[in-house]
Amino acid sequence: MLQSNRLRRRSGAVVVTAALALVLGACTSASNNGGASASPHSTTPLVIGASISLTGDFADSGKAVQRGYDLWAQEVNAKGGVLGRQVQMKLVDDASSPTQVVSNYQNLINRDKVDLVFGPFSSLLTVPASQVAKRYAYSFLEPAGGGPKVFAQNLDNLFFVQPAPVVKSGDVFADWVLSLPADQQPKTAAYTELDDPFASPIAENIRARFEAAGIKTVYKEVYPAETQDFSAIMSKVVAANPDVLVGGTQNEDAYAQVKTLVQLKFSPKFMFLSNGANSPLEFPSKVGAQNTQGIMSAGDWFPGSTAFGSDAFAAAYIKTYGGSADTIDNSSAEAFACGQLIEAVATKTGKIDNATIISSLHQGTWPTLLGDLSWGPNGAPSGSFNLIQWQGGKLVPVFPAAIAKAAPIYPKPNWGG
């Protein structure tokens, strides 16, 4: 009896709180609709909110995003801020949870009344978060949600701050291979693909291009995420003896594929791994630096890039967080680029509010440290990634020619060479 009374009292309190929250929410959202519209050169700080995964599954990448956002704020403030307003980042942890991320953006927009919001880490969190931003007509620059579900929402306020949607990140490899003289192109191909929306479609896009160009598919396998032992899959690759191996991979499976091929003593003439091989420190430490030579992957930012503000970013990063340019996570560069875009819009229009950001970014191309970016109506970027290759223990951009720092090495040298 006592318990049921207490329960009833508690549920009463919940109802009252919920009603209050609804009323308050309605008020604040009405007053806040359209986001910041402060006059230029006002001295109030420009508050930018974002939910970051500081704990949970995405914690490592989330922290890299955090470093990018904070570094941009620090740098822009040193230059006098955006239109004279000092930037304040308000970053909250979502524990990698798609429900927490919704509460976080609602709180940032309604309770904290931030002027602008930036995106969280991963497509999983970007989809629900971008819906909240859309509801309140906030622009949504996001550095790390590039999966098909993000663009299927058809949101006009969303901008994925990378050169291309994730599933198209491998297209640059197909571009390069098919640009080779016919007698140097591979004749046969094998595809080993992780069953994951960010891995398998990348390889499938390449396969469609290769097959259309007459490169014969001699083996294809889509393996489940729990696959631990790659000896069976790789034994079949060896038996099929392909000229080119395209791995639609994430991280651990990419390392395992390389290690197993080394053990089986089979080195294809061309090898592309969509992910894993583009991590500058992890990859050589997991597969052995001597086995990296000639392996290709795709990336956007790279140390030594001559893209807009890249040198300044790398220098500031090393000064603030230590390490060397090779240790910078691309997620930090992508997060930093979100800030660059805000600066660029402010400089070009003399205004900084959500409506201006949305309408401006839908027109023309915008220089960032990731290269020049432009977007389709659903926020999907219309550029392409860079082809990068391991040469002498380092990741080097090799294609397209405009950004190449070295000629591609092919055929891929044998393992250990």
Partner: protein
């Protein structure tokens, strides 16, 4: 055909490692009638210990085994004394499922806090090496892992069959009441037996860390495989666990090579269901008493 034989070779070698892990699991069940759901977590913990000894001191994971074995033996005895002994006797088996699962979660939490949740792997100089024998590749790590498992299993059999402690263990497995009447200190046998099970996890952990990347949550996958091996072999039968481990890893290699690697993970469980339907006590288990 080449891919099939290559797969089977590597499957048999891997089976040795699973045999080692499962032998500890089945031993604990045999002695104490406790299904130890923490066995997987103990293996992963040992992998972390081997990883740390390798990265901090450059100690080879195979040479680290004496060190990790002592630590894990101590941990096993501690778990038995702290968590399992206080359980009331009559429903010990059922309660032990919950308790050992809690221990697994405790270990997982400890590993997450100490080492984070990113994947680790032990990359020794010979991690990617292999020998070519008649056109087939025998990977160095798997070969030594298999050899080590044979040695460890040999030691275990010697301990169980040729020592006073082993006789006490076997007596307890066969008939705890009679063993007690004959002066076997069942509680001491239980504690040492649990420690011994944990010690096999130590040896297996070093090898597991060499073969596969791991993180604190890897034990869930591991324990489901171990349980199916142990049930297949017959609960409590160390010999049965060894044979079952080799059967499942070889058959999953064959399925991977002939049908698809995507189906190979399921082979474990298909075999398990078949055995439970046809021979519920497992291949080498007996209905009335434990068998070692």
């Amino acid at each position: 055909m080449h891919a099939l034989i290559q797969g089977v070779i590597l499957g048999i070698l891997t089976g040795g490692v699973y045999a080692l892990m499962a032998s500890g699991q089945t031993l604990i069940f045999g002695i104490m009638k406790v299904v130890n759901l923490a066995q997987g977590a103990m293996v992963i913990m040992a992998s972390y210990l081997a990883y740390q000894l390798f990265t901090s001191f450059g100690l080879d994971p195979f040479l680290a085994i004496p060190v990790t074995t002592v630590i894990m033996f101590g941990l096993g005895v501690g778990v038995e004394l702290l968590f399992l002994r206080p359980l009331r006797r009559e429903d010990k088996s059922e309660l032990s499922l919950l308790v050992t699962f809690a221990v697994a979660l405790l270990i997982e939490g400890f590993l997450s806090v100490s080492w984070g949740t990113t994947y680790r792997s032990i990359n020794t100089g010979y991690a990617n090496s292999s020998w070519t024998v008649a056109g087939y590749q025998i990977t160095v790590v798997r070969f030594w892992a298999f050899a080590l498992s044979l040695v460890a299993l040999g030691l275990l059999f010697w301990l169980l069959n040729r020592t006073r402690f082993g006789r006490a263990v076997r007596a307890t497995v066969q008939n705890p009441e009679s063993a007690r009447l004959l002066g076997v200190e069942a509680q001491r046998v239980s504690a040492l037996g649990f420690g011994l099970g944990a010690a096999t996890a130590a040896a297996a952990g070093s090898v597991y860390g060499l073969l596969y990347p791991f993180y604190s949550g890897s034990h869930y996958d591991l324990i489901s495989r171990l349980l199916s091996i142990v049930v297949l072999g017959g609960l409590g039968s160390v010999g049965g666990a060894v044979i079952a481990a080799v059967i499942v890893s070889t058959s999953s290699a064959i399925v991977a090579a002939t049908i698809s690697p995507a189906w190979s993970e399921m082979t474990f469980f298909v075999i398990l269901i078949l055995v439970l339907l046809i021979r519920p006590q497992g291949l080498f288990g007996s209905v009335s008493r434990g068998a070692i």
